[in-house]
Symmetry: C2
Subunit: 457 residues, 2 copies
Amino acid sequence: MSIDAALRALAPVLGDRLSLSKSDLAAHGQSETHFDPTPPDAVAYPRTTQEVSQIVKICAQHRCPVVGYGAGTSLEGHTLATQGGITVDFRHMAQVLEVHSEDMTVRVQPGITREALNEDLRATGLFFPVDPGANATLGGMAATRASGTTAVRYGTMRDNVMALEVVLADGRVIRTGSGARKSSAGYDLTALLVGSEGTLGLITELTLKLQGQPEAIAAATCAFDTIDAAVQAVTATIAMGIPMARIEFLDAASVAAVNAYSRADFLVTPHLMVEFHGSDAGVAEQAERFGDIAQDCGGSAFSWASKPEDRTRLWQMRHHAYWAIIASRKNTTAIVTDVCVPISKLAQAVAETQADIDAAPIPAPILGHVGDGNFHAILLIDPDNADEKRAAVDLSAGMAERALALGGTVTGEHGVGLGKLPYMAAEHGAGWDVMGQIKRAMDPLNILNPGKVVRLD
Amino acid sequence: MSIDAALRALAPVLGDRLSLSKSDLAAHGQSETHFDPTPPDAVAYPRTTQEVSQIVKICAQHRCPVVGYGAGTSLEGHTLATQGGITVDFRHMAQVLEVHSEDMTVRVQPGITREALNEDLRATGLFFPVDPGANATLGGMAATRASGTTAVRYGTMRDNVMALEVVLADGRVIRTGSGARKSSAGYDLTALLVGSEGTLGLITELTLKLQGQPEAIAAATCAFDTIDAAVQAVTATIAMGIPMARIEFLDAASVAAVNAYSRADFLVTPHLMVEFHGSDAGVAEQAERFGDIAQDCGGSAFSWASKPEDRTRLWQMRHHAYWAIIASRKNTTAIVTDVCVPISKLAQAVAETQADIDAAPIPAPILGHVGDGNFHAILLIDPDNADEKRAAVDLSAGMAERALALGGTVTGEHGVGLGKLPYMAAEHGAGWDVMGQIKRAMDPLNILNPGKVVRLD
């Protein structure tokens, strides 16, 4: 392996779009959470698929690691160049290439963010529904199989990526999937690449499913006395088959942080934030049914956000909850957990997590996309306090192990990155070895985001 | 490779559940369509995952081909033992293992058929929605990524299989997925195995998503003067975002065959058969909106099937359409095509197909799951007439090539099997080589359904 040789070969190809600047390297070596900074040796800014292919070919020749980079919003250290090498930043490949209104699909480059995409789509009456909160890039969202608040209705990136263009580890360019809404033509390479975290290929183009803007939208918040009551309302709503567009849970600590950060005045008790999409009549019916269920579970202080600006404010508050929670403690670093369990185990999982947190020396607000059984605890630690760090690691491990014991997964949406690698063997058993076999077959030199997702002994 | 040695090693393991009877071999060497019979050397009837693992281990030791077998309803020759070896018939692994009502999931063995599963689920108020028409096994449906009439609403097997237990090519048993509704924990092995047609592993258990029985169901048939008018009604309905549970197209020739076979009296013109699922109010609203659109497109002779028995009869007629069409010509063999195109290209694809059929010397009724852009022509040939066979091959090739030219796929739901192998390179380009790399990594001896899906040069 010679990273220097790769850099020398890349320089004439990319010119000033190969950056060795210290600040650039440092910026790409940061993560949103608690991982140690690990900068790459250079940052490449390709403009075309052809250039990405050239970069990977050169890196393959010199066995130089290649790490894809979107908006850097990963919470599990996916983009950290832990073995050095080249970070490929897709910011110059951020175009909407083609909107197919009749097919309700769009072809985009990987560097476009979901907010920019939806801004671009506004006039079409269509939107891209997957919403992880952060303004991530579509390439990054596909690579981590992101989801978020709307997955309960519209699915995750697994469900919304129809086709990909991908640069493989030897520089070959393939297209997976097609413009058809379904296919039985062989192995589902699209699904294999979605969630592969840049370890099997670099995504250079995506075809995404779009949704029509709903005729009617209604959103509401509802307060509950206990976490258990709120979670019971969620499971009852799902059992009734009410088509929720969003159903989000915040515990009292999260609500307090949101109040302080977003100058809101929610009761400081567990809350659900919900949204319904459909026809006027359909939304009214869904909202009424949900209201009945919530009331049966002791819900109170209903507040309906019917105006678009009120809804925007509501979901901004929700999306900023992560920052609100971090701001709720001074000089803190967050360790974000992300487990997902069967709906039938959600109440138990949240209650036991809450009990663990109550017994721990650190604050850890809980919130999540409970309609999917997915929730997070934001563990707030003083990074210089070893006891707190140990407590956070223990809490995080306890949540992951409990999720597995309950038949769930150690990451519902944040991905493996560095943080969840220690649990992959426990979650997948021999299946993890199969992932390694696939990695070796598709990236025999182990140059694509090495050290992530799989173990290659 | 020594198949005989494998048979000798298997005999003491399986006893009389290893069959060498001529009739058994012949039955498993047949297909529903035009492929030449190719019986295996033996048929194994395992009762447990452990036995499947033993079978595969022994076959691996002797490099003996292993072909999975469900209900034998494949239309592309998937189960034909073209290289001999052992067919593994899952009929003794056909149990419902566990219903999780609250999670709306069920764990089943692969040999259960979809009708048996739904019969078993009846008392729970839940049902499994994927409906390919044929009473296929769930293992077979997963292996071919089946779909059918309801995919427009509930998705295909890709969307409805949450987790699998799989015996790999070396006999190892893995579990993929989990009981959580989403996960970002590594490569999506479930999605890779769904649609792999028994070439990467043998499915020994499935966890499936279930749906609540809709509160209200309405179904209808509607006649159109032309194919184009019917297809326009489909694309307009989809553009309006009306949530159809089914939207099926039959051309005039298909309708005539259905009339004769099922003693019905539809107008002999192109028809749509539709179904809506939802609340009482929701279904009424959807039905009214669809009615308006159909009328705008010249639809007439609306007939609503509101009673359950009328709906059952309607969908039985649809499901028997394949047999009705075969019965419409004496001494015929069917070659069934299966293409899927972007919705925006559906009208063009159907019209050009119809023109080709009009110019051909054989009858070929068209029907399909047009809400997904998926349609079939049933090419009816006299198997002893070389001209007709050639015409059918040409029509089929023309449809596949047109689907690719229009950005679609050569198989929407029937799978690759033997029939679609010739188009895999054209559809996937270098992606087909990647499929081969994955196959080699997971089945280096090429014993699992050899000769299917991939090319191993």
